[in-house]
Symmetry: C2
Subunit: 279 residues, 2 copies
């Protein structure tokens, strides 16, 4: 950048910000859906930013993508048909395909530009989007969920934050739609924000998912580039309980965060988080 | 602050920063030891900053202080004499005193100003510094460790980052000094930074502690105001293994993060962290 030192700053809340030094801006573009930036950072490698919010980085993406995929795919004994809502960067798809039982993984992202630029600038993340088992649809995920009945074994809601049109993907209507889109023993996982600044949201999600699914579980992982570094995930399941998985039977998935022991530990919530989702 | 919006920014690495909006500056002072600031933030309440680095905040302090104290004090069956090196804010002392077997808790902080201003501006953290079981020494912790022989059941190294003179508190010599200062079945815990940007440091600490102690364990917790939100702790123990604690016997400690289940889960390291401390 020559003599100018360039930083990207995300206001994670009105009172809290994260800033990373930028080496290069690859893309800054208003797509039909959102503002998209792809930049190179010193601390985290290439970084995808949507509407000013860090979506994923080359350095820490493995945590989020592994934890979106593996707890769900290990809990379901036969995950043949898997749907990803959002996730146009392809990271969740890459992890899904580590499970040999998966016959088809469908990605539904509303913004084709996210897919296009991820292939170009996040090749280690988007690397499996052209796999023959993968179907990519550029389409509204909310709509796709409501058009799908009894189709999927596992649905993974890799959404942006509940702001603007993505707010629909954090509603009771969405979770009921997911219930209908799943087969009779299906399950889903959604990313559900941080518990430090979004306790009310998580409590509401807990109630709404519980309204639709007999089994509701929450787990968490450390993602440095997400607010507070503590990220939660919510699983709704019709039949299988992630806490009853025999972890001695989990295969080696070639991961950097997830392990069989992490499968258990991630569901252990610090007390203040457990209190948020207490029935 | 009137019309000016004031932010405090900590450069957590040369390429990564956290910023919090400031409502009020209580103290900005060069003590004999370091630069000390006490400020009120929107996001985290009152905040202690030393040499430009966030030490603790009212909002998230419980995580760090509980995790410094309870895994150690639950692992030792009879922790009567406990030493805190650093920790002038008093948070670790407050947690220590939740254990009825503790007869005496000694705090050795090199900077009396940290203690003074914590009592004034962090009253919920420093609340137990005047307890009759507590001895407060304004003194170099490195020196105190090397003057102490066979004295303590548990030592908790609640230090600043390994920069400047605090670097001595992350050395082989310090860990050997701790070994000598502990009784024959003693154990210690030290805060040991984040694994994303300090992998080499943690690997070295692992080797150095292993050089002195037969049992070395690492655990972690989420602290939002520390870099990456993932904070590690290292335990060195002469006799007792934290992994062998019967968690059904852990009493209710009136905590907000630590629970008996967290006692186990915190020692489960994500794969990339386990790889750092692999023997």
């Amino acid at each position: 950048m020559g003599i100018a030192e360039l930083w990207f700053t995300e206001k994670q809340t009105p009172d809290l910000a994260i800033s990373t030094k930028i080496k290069r801006i690859y893309v800054q573009e208003k797509t039909e859906i959102q503002e998209l930036a792809m930049v190179e950072t010193e601390a985290f490698g290439n970084m995808l930013i949507l509407d000013g919010i860090i979506m994923t980085t080359e350095r820490d993406e493995f945590v989020y993508h592994e934890m979106m995929a593996h707890p769900a795919l290990v809990t379901h004994p036969n995950p043949e048909q898997v749907l990803v809502v959002g996730g146009g960067d392809g990271g969740v798809i890459r992890e899904i395909l580590k499970h040999p039982k998966v016959k088809k993984a469908t990605l539904v992202d509303i913004d084709g530009k996210v897919i296009e630029y991820s292939k170009k600038y996040l090749p280690t993340i988007a690397c499996k989007l052209d796999d023959p088992r993968v179907e990519v649809l550029v389409k509204d995920g909310f709509l796709h969920i409501h058009e799908s009945k009894n189709l999927y074994d596992v649905i993974l809601a890799d959404t942006t934050d509940p702001i603007g049109q993505a707010a629909r993907l954090f509603t009771r209507g969405f979770y009921h739609g997911i219930y209908e889109a799943l087969r009779e023993d299906g399950l889903f996982v959604a990313q559900t924000e941080d518990p430090w600044f979004n306790a009310e949201l998580i409590a509401r999600i807990h109630r709404d998912v519980k309204d639709a699914f007999p089994i509701v579980r929450h787990f968490w992982a450390n993602v440095p580039t997400y607010p507070t570094g503590m990220w939660t995930f919510t699983m709704g399941s019709k039949k299988y309980d992630p806490l009853e998985v025999d972890i001695s039977k989990i295969p080696d998935l070639d991961t950097k965060y997830y392990t069989p022991q992490i499968h258990q530990a991630a569901f252990v919530l610090p007390k203040f988080v457990a209190d948020i989702v207490k029935d």
